[in-house]
């Protein structure tokens, strides 16, 4: 591949800048916890949604640029990403539903 021997240094530093910026935003929001985002939301708080989306953005940056998935053959990339994405979504969905169900069942039995 043609890009294999040219230097990508500049791009690497740009991605590092983006990842750092996202982390700073996350930590800042995590510390101040703005009430409008923290106390309201859909399913979970808006703040949690922001955290999850930013995390996925970071994961994309690391996998695509640092791990160089963008330069791999399409089906190697898909065999990795699709397997992970589908299996993990399935697992997490089931587990979280189950956790919520256990809470609904057991928490009325605990008196505070």
């Amino acid at each position: 591949m043609a890009h294999a021997h040219e230097s990508n240094t500049k791009r690497i530093w740009i991605v590092f800048g983006i990842l750092s910026f996202i982390t700073i935003v996350e930590v800042y929001l995590g510390i101040i916890k703005p009430a409008a985002l923290h106390l309201q939301g859909m399913g979970t708080s808006w703040l949690n949604w922001i955290f999850i989306i930013l995390t996925l953005a970071k994961a994309y940056g690391i996998a695509w640029v640092f791990m160089h998935l963008e330069g791999e053959k399409k089906w190697l990339r898909r065999s990795i990403v699709w397997s992970a994405v589908f299996l993990i979504s399935y697992l997490v969905t089931l587990f979280l539903f189950e956790g919520g169900y256990i809470f609904d069942t057991l928490s009325p039995l605990v008196k505070w």
Partner: protein, 326 residues
């Protein structure tokens, strides 16, 4: 190309000692990717189990930024700052790793070696930070009491948590000593006992009218732990039977015991990955210096350990979010 033939006839898509390259990837690189995939599923299993447990105790789960508030060499309350610094260190070591891979593509041996070295140093700093974090977590900073049915009670003054040592006076008074093999049954041991007895804590509570009891229950309107009135606090305290200081696999002064278990398990498993990543990086670093890859004509090994190292960083990004932020 006859893709549906099980035994290839033209030797084009078999790995005969490294010649064939399905998907345009070498055997080693592809298998590193599939190892990473399976490892990613393992970590997702842990984090999903953490999620299940947290949902199960959603109304009493510890609030992470009240637990991780310390920074080495600095006194005071700095929620999440240190974890954020650790995240930076790991991301930065990922950058030096990818720069090493980049230098490898250009066959610049010295550059590869220096970037690998920086990566290893970053990894060591991260593991050291993690060890410090564990130490702080295990020692605990406030102390709490536990009721007979396992509910944890913490103490607050003006809405801020205070340590037992700040209001309980003197040393343990009930004469209780740690059970060791020497002074008791030779086949039984006991962990370190708390600095104070329950009776002492209750006495100190009664003597300080400005101190209140905080329970694990989260007030959903404010997303903060519930603080009891003085009277309700007395009622709860009457039901306590032990003092908890710090955290281990059995007890946890921050709240649910299983929170501590998950903390040790998930960050421990991740830390183990970092340690093995450092070990592999060191091996490859020496190979670079010895000129192994220069002779081989390519630096693909650096690329492969790079994949593993980035994966460790990738996992931390998720651990950071789901353990410390959400």
């Amino acid at each position: 190309m006859e893709a549906n033939i099980a035994v290839p006839t033209d030797k084009k898509d078999i790995w005969n000692g490294g010649g064939g390259k399905p998907f345009g990837a070498s055997y080693g690189k592809m298998m590193m990717w599939y190892f990473i995939l399976s490892d990613a599923l393992t970590f997702s299993g842990f984090l999903a189990a953490y999620g299940l447990t947290r949902f199960k105790f959603i109304d009493t789960w510890p609030i992470a930024d009240e637990v991780f508030t310390h920074v080495p060499f600095v006194h005071g309350d700095f929620p999440m700052i240190y974890v954020a610094i650790m995240t930076f260190i790991l991301i930065f070591s990922s950058v030096t790793m990818v720069l090493a891979v980049d230098a490898g593509h250009q066959m610049k041996k010295n550059k590869v070696a220096w970037y690998m070295f920086a990566t290893i140093i970053g990894g060591i700093i991260f593991v050291g930070s993690q060890a410090w974090e564990w130490n702080t977590f295990i020692k605990g900073s406030y102390g709490a009491v536990k009721t007979t049915e396992g509910k944890l009670l913490q103490f607050v003054k003006d809405g801020k948590q205070i340590a037992l040592a700040d209001f309980v006076i003197g040393n343990r008074t009930d004469g209780r000593v740690q059970h060791t093999k020497k002074n008791g049954l030779w086949f039984e041991e006991e962990g370190t006992i708390a600095n104070y007895s329950v009776a002492q804590v209750i006495q100190a509570y009664n003597a300080n009218p400005e101190i209140q009891v905080r329970t694990e229950l989260i007030d959903l309107d404010k997303k903060q732990k519930t603080i009891l009135s003085r009277e309700a606090g007395s009622v709860m305290l009457a039901r306590t039977d032990r003092v908890v200081e710090g955290a281990n696999l059995d007890e946890n002064e921050y709240g649910n015991t299983i929170f501590a278990d998950a903390f040790f398990f998930i960050t421990g498993f991740h830390g183990f990955h970092v340690v093995s990543g450092i070990a592999i990086n060191i091996i490859i670093f020496f190979n670079v210096i010895l000129g192994t890859y220069e002779k081989r004509g390519h630096y693909e090994m650096v690329e492969k350990v790079g994949l593993y190292w980035h994966f460790v960083d990738l996992v931390w990004v998720f651990v950071f979010t789901f353990f410390y932020l959400v």
